[in-house]
Each structure stands twice: as structure tokens, then as C-alpha cells.
């Protein structure tokens, strides 16, 4: 990126609208770090980096639809990689759709962040300091890295959002018919969007941590944090219950404040679904988490909410209809999701309450968070008694009637995203065996598609909920509240073991609940890796779902493991916006441990992370467009991700090919020599069919070229062990990761040397127990891997 100096301001070439005041830059420069080459990168600034990634991890497209219908030339049939009337090919069109998904996802995070900023500036002032205490000196790694700004107050984020919004518009422009035509350039733009997404998330979380005093920003508030209750069974339905759903915490925070100010904490339940739930636990100690996104419909249908408060994202579009069904008044609090309700923001709160309690209106819009607090609490308290008298779960008789009505026509199964055998389960229930129906509860993603196609009008979701009701009442888990940033002091401790490989990896289960086979997989992934001394950092719905299951001792993974960023830790980083802190942890390893400059230096840091930080995202139930932009943001920063089988519907993966030698060339920055290396990591985005397959894959994606022999042998141990445990085979490619005999797991050294000799034709010196010939490359402890020529220290 070129910085042009015009008058008193810097203007970024090609991006004349973004200006950096020179005085500020100079002043900041003296204070913290020299400015790197790419502050506030534009669309094409980091294209070289993207193309390096795309050469090794080629975009793979699996069209979800063979047609395009975006303009009036269409519909165009693109099957067989044909071109549409505008000239775009199937592959580029799919790059375009991926960019569109990332655009929507990034806009959600950025829009949410901007909205938060408005609310928080109004409530707390733009000078609210960003000071996370002595544990967190590098408070905003992505902001520093991408924008070159070190934010001191929440008001400083106005500039950051200006930048992101400008970029989003430019990228949206590229989607128009007759713009970009190359799939590689669409992907480079998607990667740019992913990076902006990560920045938006960091911005949103930092300003809310600063303004609300979430853990990290108060004394004694971290790094480990207390536990909170999770699960439908933890909610005391004898009390008035307020249910908050969405992602934007101010209305829920105000509800918590109102309860506290009025001494009502013990008489009213405040529970949440999805990320608002997680963020509410960061601001209100008595908050509970009802469920992750996947159970939204069922929690509402269970009728436990005396009032439902929605803010933004991942709210059911038919929320009003569902709330009406169970007489739960709805309060919409965000202008992005108004659900056709009347805006009553400026009305007298008591009048609004009276209208809701008497069901004169099914819901209202209140756009002022403070007013939401008062109205929600008063409404819940006044309506609760009457609502508790309602019976909303099916009676035994109704249940028997419905299941015996079923003709096993199979329509519901064809409509069900998981193809669940509902008819068969109904039949079994009609003969008195309800277990198969109850077993569907966890595998169901709660979409409601089945009910719409049932010619017998069976309320299938309610029938399944009824069958599972006893187990549901017992669904009581515990998880840590969202802890926010990883501390600098923690990074100092683990930076070396992660880069050397002796902590075998950082596993980041994130995102939504569109699982192929229920929530237990989320728990299993966390358990396996935590027990193997990986660091497990969770955010969002997967953090919630993992808390629903317990081990033989009756403990959840959060209770069984510590919450520090260290070997064997299980951390709830927080909501979806908090997962920027996982990027941040990787960035901080480069800056704090390896002392690389952050400021405006994205490419170098991403290169560092790709080659050295064994981190892997796991979005096992990725569903939303946000999950697409989140994963793409991870990828640009050099962090791979594994998705569940539904993730293939995103249409694009980034897959490496170990059998193509030229794709695996890397530079030794020490002397500039180019060497072939093992596929580490092999992919940037890949789907697995089952959790059994995913576990070894996740371990595999933690290999990095920088691993020491000790680190490599630990990583290999887990890769081989997980494969033997879940696939019952040695991984077919384990030998690719062996550079020297000391890379081999100690306990199996002889056995593995023998295998290398017999199965792969390697030459072994048995006397010395050394490998003479065979590996892709030998082990060189001074190897300094990079993909960037400019980082070569001395040319050979």
C-alpha cells in the first residue's frame, strides 16, 4: 500500500477517502511502533499474500446450485463450468457467491459493532478508556495490525469502523454483474472481507469490554473466570422468565441493571440464547444460558419465557408467530430486526407494559436499551402468573393422538436437513416406545421444516420435545463466562511451547449448531484435545453446546479443565465477536514472543502464523454467513479450519495437494534457500463427514514447518493415536511429517522405523536408529520458514 502525503494528511492510494491524520500517526509512531508496509490495506494491497495462499490451497468448488439468477439476463445455466450471459464462469460465480456470503457475515459483525459503538458512546461517552489492566498491554492486536492504530478510547473506533465500512462497500461493488471475472480474485476479495470481519469482531468486543467492564477489564477479573449455568433445566420456571436472543448485548445488559437496581435479581430469571446469552453472563452475574441457537424454536415452544427480547442476528424470522403461539410477548430492540412491530420507543413504559400484559399487541419495538430494561422486567413480572397457568407442552393424550396419526409417509424426512427418521420414531412411540423420538431431540437442529410438510398437521417439533421432556428438564450444564482477551502474560508462558510444538496446538471450536449428529460431538472434540494438553478456546454456540454433556464424574469439560490459556485449558473466550481474541492470541505470539512488529504489518504476521502457530479452528456446525466470513478471516491470517459436513454447502474449500510437490515450497529466511516441505498445514478449509474423522484431521492441521523434533513427535503421537482410536488405522500420510528419527513418538520409535522401511521404502540405519533416506526434508533446528522473499535476511 502506498501512502501519499497530501497536505496535512496521508491518503492511501486507491482509497482516497480514508485519511490518516499525519500529526496523530507521527505522535503514535514515536510512542509505540514504526508503521509497517500495509496500514489500512485496500482491496488489492494484500493480493500477493492471498495468491500465495491460493496457489497452495486451491479453491475447490462444490456448487449448491448450478444456476445464477442475479440479473435479468438470467437465469443462466452454468453447469459443467459454462459461462453465463455476462461471461462469468461457474467457478468465478461461486467465488462471487462466497464473497457475497462473507460480505453478509462481515456486515453483520461490522453493523453490530457500529451499533454498539453508537449505544456505548451515548451511554458512557466516547472517551471511555480502553484499559484492560497490566495483564493485557497489547489490547487490540488486529486493530494495530490492520489499521496501524493503537486505540485508547472507544471513540477511537470510529475511525476503524469508517475504514471497514468503506472497504465493505468497495467489495460489495465487485459483486455487481460485469465486474470481477476471476475466481482467484473473488477469493482474494473474500479473504479481504474475512480479514475485515475479524477486525469488526475485535472492535465490537473491545468496546463492549471497555464500556461494560466485562472480565479482563476489572481487577481480579481474569484470566480464569467463574462458571455459569447452562441448559433448559437450569431455569427456574416458577419465577418470571425473561429470554434474550441474539448478539447485541445492550438491551440485555440494561435488563440486568434494572433487576440489580431494583433488588430483583433473585425474583426474576434472565436467561439467553446464542451470543447475547454469553455476553449477558459477562455483565450480569445471575444470568443463565438457556441454550445455543439450535434449540431456539424449542425453548420458545416450551413456553418458559414470559417475555422474549430479541436484538440482532440468528433470530428466527418467524419469531413473532412462535411467540404468539405460546403467549410470550416479544420486544424487538434493534432496527435490523423489527418483525413488523410498532415502534413504541418514546411511549410511556407503563402503557407499553399494560398493552403487552393484556395481549392487546403481540409485541413492540423499543430501540432504547434502557427502556427495554424497564419494560421487559415489568412485563415479565406482571404476566408471569397468568402465563404459568398455561399448559404449553403437549399432554400425554395429545402426544399419543399425534404419534398415532402419523402415516409414515416420509415427507418430513425429505424436508429435514438431517434426514431424521421421524415417521419411524412416531410409529415406535405409538406402540409405547418413545426412546427413538426422544433420541431425535439432540440430533434435530430445530428448524421446523418438517411440520410444514406434514399432511396430518402433526406439530413434530412439539412431539419430539414432549418425548424428550424428562431429559430436557435434566439438561443442566456449566460453562465459563466469556473471558475475552488472552493475556500477554499467558502468551509469554506458552509462546515458545506453541511455536516449538510441545504444546501440540490451539484448537478453536467456534460457531453455530448445525451439527450432523447432535451436540455431543462438540463435547467430544473439546474433551479429546483438552485431555491431550492442547489449548481449547471456544466461542459462540459451540461453547454452549459443549457444556451440555458430562463425563463419568458428572463434570462438564469446563469443570474438568482449567480456564487458562495453557496446556489442557478449556476457555470460553466469549460470544462470536469475542473469537477475534483467538486471532489475537496467534498475533500476540508473533509480537510478544517473537517480537515481530504488528503495526500495519498483516502479511508478515500471517506468514508467521501460517508457518509457526499450530492453531486450528473447528466450526463443526457452521451455518451462518458470519461463520463463512469468520473462517475466511482465520484463513487469511494463516489459520486452517475444519467444518462439519453441512459446511460443504458453503460451496468452497481451500484444499492442499500433498501429491503436487511444487505446491510445497518454502523459503528459509536465514539464507534464502527454497526447500520442499511437508504439507503443514495441509488445508485451510476442509470438511469431515463424521466427528470420528474430524478428530485426527484437526490434529493433522496443527503441524507446522517450524516444529522442533520434540514438538513434532508430540504432534505425531496425537495424530497417529487419534487415527488409531477413531479410524482404526495408521494415518496413510503420517510418514510425510517425519523429518528425522527424533520426530518419531518415543514409545513407538522402533515400530515406526520398521514401518517406514517396509511400507515406504525408507532407508534406515538400524545401528544408530537413524533415517538415512526417505523424508521430504531433513530436520534443521535453525530453519526459519517464510513465504515472503522480502523477509530473507541474507541472500544466498
Amino acid at each position: 500500500m502506498e501512502l501519499l502525503k497530501k497536505g496535512g494528511v496521508f491518503t492511501i492510494a486507491g482509497l482516497e477517502n480514508v485519511q490518516i491524520r499525519i500529526g496523530e500517526i507521527e505522535e503514535e509512531e514515536e510512542e509505540w511502533e514504526p508503521l509497517g508496509p500495509h496500514p489500512m490495506p485496500g482491496i488489492a494491497t494484500l493480493r500477493d499474500w492471498d495468491f500465495k495462499l491460493l496457489k497452495r490451497y486451491k479453491p475447490f468448488y462444490a456448487p449448491f446450485c448450478d444456476m445464477c439468477c442475479l440479473c435479468t439476463y438470467g437465469k443462466c445455466d452454468l453447469s459443467g463450468n459454462k459461462k453465463g450471459a455476462c461471461g462469468i464462469r461457474m467457478d468465478a460465480q461461486h467465488g462471487r457467491i462466497v464473497l457475497l456470503a462473507c460480505l453478509v457475515g462481515c456486515s453483520a459483525h461490522c453493523g453490530h459493532g457500529r451499533h454498539l459503538l453508537h449505544d456505548l458512546v451515548r451511554r458512557f461517552g466516547r472517551d471511555t478508556p480502553i484499559d484492560f489492566g497490566p495483564g493485557v498491554n497489547v489490547e487490540a492486536p488486529l486493530t494495530r495490525l490492520i489499521c496501524g492504530i493503537k486505540p485508547r478510547t472507544i471513540g477511537d473506533y470510529e475511525r476503524v469502523f469508517d475504514y471497514i465500512e468503506e472497504q465493505i462497500v468497495q467489495l460489495a461493488d465487485a459483486l455487481h454483474t460485469g465486474q470481477e471475472g476471476s475466481y482467484l480474485d473473488f477469493e482474494s476479495k473474500a479473504l479481504h472481507m474475512g480479514m475485515l470481519d475479524s477486525l469488526s469482531k475485535e472492535a465490537a468486543d473491545i468496546i463492549q469490554i471497555a464500556a461494560y467492564g466485562m472480565p479482563t477489564s476489572y481487577e481480579g477479573g481474569g484470566p480464569d473466570v467463574p462458571l455459569v449455568e447452562v441448559g433448559i433445566g437450569t431455569i427456574d420456571t416458577n419465577k418470571p422468565v425473561i429470554l434474550v436472543i441474539g448478539h447485541n448485548v445492550p438491551p440485555a445488559a440494561e435488563i440486568g441493571d434494572y433487576l440489580t437496581d431494583n433488588g430483583l435479581e433473585d425474583s426474576v430469571e434472565l436467561a439467553g440464547i446464542c451470543c447475547t446469552a454469553i455476553d449477558t453472563t459477562r455483565v450480569y452475574k445471575k444470568a443463565k444460558i438457556a441454550s445455543a441457537l439450535g434449540r431456539q424454536l424449542r425453548v420458545i415452544r416450551a413456553g418458559i419465557a414470559d417475555v422474549v427480547v430479541v436484538d440482532e442476528q440468528c433470530i428466527r424470522a418467524d419469531i413473532l408467530e412462535q411467540c404468539k403461539r405460546v403467549h410470550s410477548p416479544l420486544i424487538a430492540t434493534n432496527d435490523k430486526a423489527l418483525h413488523g412491530l410498532v415502534d413504541r420507543t418514546d411511549d410511556n413504559p407503563d402503557e407499553i407494559v399494560a398493552d403487552l400484559v393484556n395481549e392487546r399487541v403481540p409485541g413492540v419495538v423499543i430501540l432504547d436499551p434502557e427502556r427495554v430494561g424497564e419494560v421487559a422486567v415489568k412485563t415479565a413480572m406482571q404476566i408471569a402468573k397468568r402465563r404459568k397457568a398455561l399448559r404449553l407442552i403437549l399432554s400425554d393424550e395429545e402426544f399419543r393422538h399425534y404419534v398415532s396419526e402419523c402415516t409414515q409417509c416420509g415427507n418430513c424426512t425429505l424436508a429435514c436437513p438431517n434426514g431424521l427418521p421421524i415417521g419411524e420414531a412416531n410409529q415406535s412411540a405409538s406402540t409405547g416406545r418413545i426412546e427413538p423420538l426422544a433420541a431425535l431431540f439432540d440430533k434435530c437442529v430445530g428448524c421446523g421444516r418438517c411440520e410444514q410438510v406434514c399432511k396430518k398437521h402433526i406439530p413434530i417439533v412439539d412431539v419430539i420435545t414432549k418425548a424428550a421432556y424428562p431429559q430436557l428438564r435434566e439438561e443442566k450444564g456449566r460453562m465459563r463466562i466469556g473471558r475475552g482477551p488472552v493475556w500477554d502474560s499467558e502468551i509469554r508462558e506458552v509462546g515458545a511451547p506453541i511455536v516449538l510444538g510441545t504444546i501440540p496446538g490451539v484448537i478453536a471450536p467456534i460457531g453455530c449448531g448445525n451439527y450432523p449428529d447432535g451436540t455431543r460431538d462438540a463435547w467430544l472434540i473439546v474433551k479429546e484435545f483438552a485431555e491431550r494438553n492442547y489449548i481449547v478456546t471456544l466461542t459462540g454456540c459451540m461453547a454452549i453446546d459443549a457444556a451440555l454433556w458430562k463425563d463419568e464424574e458428572g463434570k462438564t469439560v469446563y469443570e474438568q479443565h482449567h480456564g487458562r490459556f495453557d496446556a489442557g485449558g478449556v476457555l470460553n473466550i466469549g460470544s462470536c465477536v469475542s473469537n477475534a481474541h483467538i486471532h489475537d492470541a496467534a498475533i500476540k505470539i508473533a509480537s510478544i514472543f517473537a517480537r515481530r512488529t504488528l503495526r500495519g504489518n498483516y502479511e508478515e504476521i500471517a506468514d508467521y502464523i501460517l508457518s509457526r502457530v499450530g492453531a486450528c479452528g473447528v466450526a463443526w456446525g457452521a451455518m451462518s454467513q458470519k461463520a463463512a466470513s469468520i473462517a475466511t478471516g482465520f484463513n487469511r491470517l494463516g489459520i486452517p479450519a475444519v467444518v462439519g459436513p453441512h459446511g460443504t454447502k458453503y460451496r468452497r474449500a481451500f484444499l492442499g495437494r500433498p501429491d503436487i510437490k511444487e505446491d510445497w515450497q518454502i523459503i528459509d529466511a536465514t539464507d534464502g534457500s527454497e526447500i520442499y516441505f511437508e504439507p503443514a498445514p495441509q488445508h485451510l478449509l476442509v470438511a469431515c463427514e463424521t466427528v470420528e474423522e474430524a478428530l485426527p484431521m484437526i490434529a493433522k492441521l496443527c503441524f507446522r514447518p517450524s516444529d522442533t523434533d520434540r514438538g513434532r513427535s508430540i504432534k505425531l503421537t496425537h495424530y497417529i493415536d487419534l487415527s488409531l482410536k477413531y479410524l482404526n488405522i495408521y494415518p496413510p500420510d503420517w510418514h510425510l511429517f517425519v523429518r528425522t528419527a527424533t520426530d518419531l513418538p518415543v514409545a513407538k520409535k522402533d515400530e515406526l522405523l520398521k514401518k517406514l522401511e517396509d511400507e515406504h521404502g525408507w532407508e534406515i540405519d538400524w545401528k544408530m536408529k537413524r533415517i538415512k533416506e526417505g523424508p521430504i526434508r531433513g530436520y534443521d533446528p535453525s530453519f526459519n520458514p517464510t513465504n515472503l522473499k522480502r523477509l530473507i535476511r541474507e541472500k544466498k
Binding site: 486451491k58 475447490f60 468448488y61 462444490a62 456448487p63 449448491f64 446450485c65 448450478d66 444456476m67 445455466d77 452454468l78 453447469s79 459443467g80 463450468n81 461457474m90 467457478d91 409414515q408 416420509g410 424426512t413 425429505l414 424436508a415 436437513p417 434426514g419 427418521p421 415417521g423 419411524e424 410438510v453 450432523p516 459436513p645 453441512h646 460443504t648 454447502k649 460451496r651 474449500a653 484444499l655 495437494r657 501429491d659 488445508h683 476442509v686 470438511a687 469431515c688 463427514e689 463424521t690 470420528e692 474423522e693 484431521m697 477413531y726 479410524l727 482404526n728 488405522i729 494415518p731 496413510p732
Partner: protein
């Protein structure tokens, strides 16, 4: 014949939709293929019969790519001779490349048979093959109890009630595969 409903009802890709074919027709195509590959997924583990069916097909000289965690079943049965574990994404990525050397180093395949793979994952990979493995053409078929519009040829939807009929179809398919070099033919 009226339009077949995809197993995941809205999964209608476009003008090019796979043909519903009886087992013998698919068997016949498999018999004539130059380099066929059987790709199996985790759902074959739900009943021994499916695993045995895959092994039967394998014994006719057709190599097996075991995706998901289906490889477990083959190992437990002690049948691993021409079976390779593959991740389905990785495998499909190779299939779309005409220069891929194949599981045996002898080159890419011209005919792939999908069996026992989670429906929507299979559908997406079939879509990749249909749209991008076009020169030379790879034909992909499905022998699951689902109608797969992204496959060139597929069985129709068969409800779990009709499990016995489905098993019979698989038996018919296996017996209609006649290949030279297989153990049985």
C-alpha cells in the same frame, strides 16, 4: 416418469438432474467402466449388510475409497486389500484433476460409485464432479437409498420401511457387475 423428488426436497440444482436407474442398469455401466472407484461413507457402518455389499463390490476388482470413518468397518472385517482411507473432500479435489495419479498411481478414474455417504455431503461432492470433472468426463452414480439429483444416475428414494427392498436392489446390483480381473467373474 414424473420428476423425482430429491431426498433433501429443495436440493434441485438446475436443468441437469440425474437419472433414476434400476440396479441392473447401473451395474451394467460399472461393468463397462475402464477405471471405476467405489466411494463409501460412514453410513455403511449402520448395518453389516452394507459393509458386506461394499466388500462384494471390492472383490469384483473395484478399488474402494473409504471416507468418513467407514474404514473402521473394513479393518474389523479384515478386508483392506484394495481399500484406502480418504477424506471425501480431498478425494473429490483429486478427482476433479485429470492429472491425478489415482489411489494406485495409475491415473484418475472414469466412473465413481457413491455409497453410504451422508446425503448432503455426497450431494455437494457429486456436484463438484458433475460440474468440474468434465474433461475427461467422470461419471458419478449413487447407490444409496436416496435420489441424488447431482449424480448422473441414482436410485430413487427408498423409505426406511422398504429396507428389505433396498437390500434386494443392492444384491441385484452386485450380481449384475461383471468385471474381468475380479475374484468372482
Amino acid at each position: 416418469m414424473g420428476m423425482e423428488i430429491p431426498f433433501d426436497v429443495a436440493n434441485i440444482p438446475g436443468p441437469e438432474m440425474g437419472e433414476v436407474a434400476p440396479p441392473e442398469v447401473i451395474g451394467n455401466y460399472i461393468s463397462r467402466a475402464k477405471r471405476p472407484l467405489l466411494v463409501v461413507g460412514s453410513e455403511i457402518l449402520r448395518d453389516d449388510f452394507f459393509l458386506e455389499t461394499a466388500i462384494e463390490i471390492g472383490k469384483k476388482g473395484i478399488p474402494i475409497a473409504a471416507t468418513g470413518h467407514s474404514i473402521r468397518g473394513f479393518v474389523e472385517k479384515g478386508y483392506t486389500e484394495n481399500v484406502n482411507y480418504c477424506n471425501l473432500h480431498e478425494l473429490t479435489n483429486c478427482l476433479r484433476d485429470p492429472n491425478w495419479k489415482g489411489l494406485d498411481g495409475k491415473g484418475n478414474y472414469d466412473f465413481v460409485i457413491f455409497f453410504g455417504i451422508v446425503y448432503y455431503y455426497a450431494s455437494q461432492m457429486l456436484s463438484c464432479i458433475k460440474n468440474f470433472a468434465i474433461d475427461p468426463l467422470i461419471r458419478a452414480v449413487s447407490i444409496d437409498r436416496y435420489y441424488h439429483p447431482q449424480a448422473r444416475m441414482s436410485f430413487t428414494n427408498i423409505s426406511p420401511k422398504m429396507e428389505a427392498e433396498y437390500k434386494d436392489m443392492l444384491n441385484r446390483l452386485v450380481s449384475s457387475i461383471k468385471r474381468r480381473g475380479g475374484q468372482e467373474s
